[in-house]
């Protein structure tokens, strides 16, 4: 630093500061009196500034304070072109109130820290508390004396590591310097006097870029506009979202009626899934027509359900309060189970499969052994199965052929009529109605299966004979455009019943075939299987009849078959051998 002279001790600068009375302001009267003799001659000044182990601690602290002021004023030469001491602006040498003479982080510590460059030579005296405090009191002698007494030799820290600024503190300090400290003209050559805006030092514009890169990122984090970018929200397409429990394992039972091979070959799908995997009976999703309930409807239905349940248990009557309480209990329990399912699905979506999640759910609900649930279902099925077909709730989604609609409508009408009488559980007519309804369902299922088999038979006959066949006297819509797929014959052992099925396709034995159809339908009905439903794609197995065994099932009488077939179902057509005849009574 040129301003400190060639020896670097800054005697001339010290003299200049003394000429403006800076030393008295800086050191205070007490220390100033001990300091001023050293300014009498360069030799004395050299002895003052010369580091010596024989010096006492107060002398060393005084020297450090003097060095700090000298360095602060001389540091301008670091950023400016080398110039003479005479060209220093007197105003620049003065002590000003907005100069930072303290640490920003600890207001309690009255350690005098000037510019970061003099951090190493930080003095022990303090010039004030904060910029907010009065400027004059900063230089008050009592404060200085008190502080200097406090910061005695014994209290000086061994190391100044605790006074080091962190990068964040340094960036704050620099920003404070940049934004708030007045820049003063150091040299007389610059005409501009005291200004608030930054001054052009050494002829070049001040560097506006932050000194530390970490401060740049802070500035860059502020968005240009408060309005969010809405480009992503333009496409409001419904994205199909499948949860982990949407695709539960499909049934692969080993029942004699329904085997996995039959599912694959005949395209028979479980009824709880639509043709698209993962969707229910059209209840959810964009295509579903799910019936939504309001809160009032739900509470009313809950109470009716509770009535039914209490009756099943054995209660003869109950009060309104207890009904409400148990209805709330029911809704709370369903909510609880739903929350459990949601929690499990969200938490273990990636780790566990749907089956494992179900097991966890059952264990959480207390039904790890779901045999109890199976027994409950059996008990309810054996006894009068109370079905809560409430007002406004249709029979759960099944496509019924047109012929069955009158019977279904009749059952629905009876249901609606019975709704006001739901409380009278001991009504024998109600019990009989329930049994009759179950029987209707069984008969309906049988007829559906029979219709499908009839369709298959007719299509095959059309293929073989290529003669126009008279339609049966049934309101069926035969889809003639259904693709026919040849299916390999399986081993007879895999299909304990299929031999009967295939032989029923033999066109040369219509009567026996019809009986076998009835046998098959009754067998299926007994198995309580709803798999044989109208399908979009029908696959008919191709039979190599001569090689097949001709085992046939004995004829089985089907209850109410005449009713299902609509009275005179015996089609009196041409005398062809491929007619389907109703069984003789």
């Amino acid at each position: 630093m040129a301003l400190l002279g060639e020896d670097g001790r800054g005697y001339e600068l010290a003299r200049k500061l003394e000429s403006q009375g800076i030393w008295r302001s800086w050191l205070g009267d007490a220390l100033y009196s001990s300091f001023i003799p050293f300014l009498s001659s360069p030799a004395a000044w050299d002895s003052f500034m010369l580091p010596d182990d024989s010096k006492s601690r107060p002398q060393i602290s005084l020297e450090l304070r003097a060095r700090a002021l000298l360095f602060d004023k001389a540091s301008v030469s670091l950023f400016a072109q080398p110039t003479a001491l005479s060209k220093l602006n007197p105003n620049y040498l003065e002590l000003h109130g907005d100069d930072v003479y303290f640490t920003l982080e600890n207001g309690g510590q009255d350690v005098d820290q000037r510019h970061p460059g003099v951090a190493a030579s930080s003095t022990t005296s303090s010039k004030g508390r904060s910029k907010a405090s009065s400027i004059g009191s900063r230089f008050s002698e009592p404060d200085v004396d008190a502080v200097s007494q406090r910061l005695r030799l014994e209290e000086l820290p061994e190391t100044w590591d605790s006074e080091k600024r962190t990068p964040e503190q340094m960036s704050t300090y620099l920003s404070l310097i940049e934004n708030h400290k007045r820049r003063r003209v150091a040299f007389v050559d610059n005409i501009s006097s005291l200004r608030s805006n930054p001054v052009m030092v050494d002829g070049s514009p001040a560097d506006d870029a932050p000194l530390f890169p970490e401060t740049m990122s802070i500035f860059n984090c502020v968005p240009d506009s408060a309005v969010l970018i809405t480009r992503r929200l333009e496409n409001n397409q419904k994205v199909p979202f499948n949860g982990v429990l949407d695709n539960l394992p499909q049934t692969m039972t080993k029942s004699p009626v329904m085997s996995p091979i039959m599912i694959e070959r005949l395209g028979i799908r479980p009824e709880y899934l639509s043709m698209e995997q993962g969707q229910g009976w059209g209840k959810n999703g964009s295509q579903g027509s799910r019936k939504l309930l309001s809160q009032e409807q739900a509470s009313r239905i809950s109470q009716k359900v509770v009535v039914r349940l209490l009756h099943n248990v054995g209660f003869e009557s109950s009060s309104d309060t207890s009904l409400e309480v148990i209805a709330q209990l029911l809704s709370s329990h369903i909510n609880k189970l739903g929350r459990t399912l949601k929690l499990l699905a969200d938490s273990y979506r990636k780790q566990c499969s749907a089956t494992e999640l179900l097991k966890m759910f059952l264990q959480t609900a207390g039904y790890s052994n779901f045999r109890t649930l199976v027994e409950l279902m059996k008990d309810n099925s054996k006894s009068v199965a109370p079905q809560t077909q409430q007002q406004g709730l249709s029979i759960q989604g099944q496509n019924l052929p047109q012929q069955q609609q009158p019977s279904v409508q009749q059952s629905q009408q009876m249901l609606r009529q019975m709704n006001p009488q739901m409380q009278q559980m001991n009504n024998p007519q109600y019990l009989a109605f329930q049994q009759q309804q179950q029987q209707w369902e069984r008969m309906r299922r049988r007829q559906q299966h029979q219709q499908q088999l009839h369709q298959q038979q007719q299509l095959q006959q059309q293929q073989q004979q290529s003669t126009p066949r008279p339609g049966m006297n049934m309101n069926m819509s035969i889809d003639k455009d259904r693709p026919l797929v040849q299916v390999k014959m399986e081993a007879p052992s895999d299909f304990p019943l299929d031999t009967n099925t295939f032989t029923s396709m033999n066109p040369r034995q219509p009567q026996l075939r019809q009986q076998q159809l009835a046998a098959i339908s009754s067998f299926h009905a007994q198995a309580n299987n709803n798999a044989f439903r109208p399908m979009n794609s029908l696959q008919i197995p191709q039979i190599h009849s001569p090689t097949m065994s001709m085992a046939r099932a004995p004829p089985v009488k089907v209850e109410g078959f005449q009713e299902l077939m609509g009275g005179d179902s015996s089609a009196k057509h041409d005398s062809e051998e491929n007619k389907l005849l109703s069984p003789r009574k």
Binding site: L248, P249, T253, V305, G314, L329, G338, L358, V374, M377
Partner: protein, 121 residues
Amino acid sequence: MNGQTSHQQPKDGRHDDDAALTEFLASLMDYTPTIPDELVEHYLAKSGFQCPDARLTRLVAVATQKFIADVATDALQQCKARPAVIKDKRDKQQKYGVNVKHQEYFADTPSAGLDPASRDE
């Protein structure tokens, strides 16, 4: 050989459990619970869970039905047992000169039921 069989047994057991669970889910479709599916779906949606598979809805319905049935059964048993217990207790306490009969009426003020004249006094 033995190690292989012992290793296969847990897998077989797990497979059997899965098959049993799958079969149980399939059987749910053949059984109509007392609680309608719409009601169950309504409350499940309130709790934040939605599933298009009706088997899960029916599983929840059956589980809830079992829960309510258990509660009602216990309540019925308590109800049937309660009069007998109270009667026995009452008889026993009368032996010892303790009257535990229910009060005939309840009064909310000391002057309830008194004549207006006596009440003024």
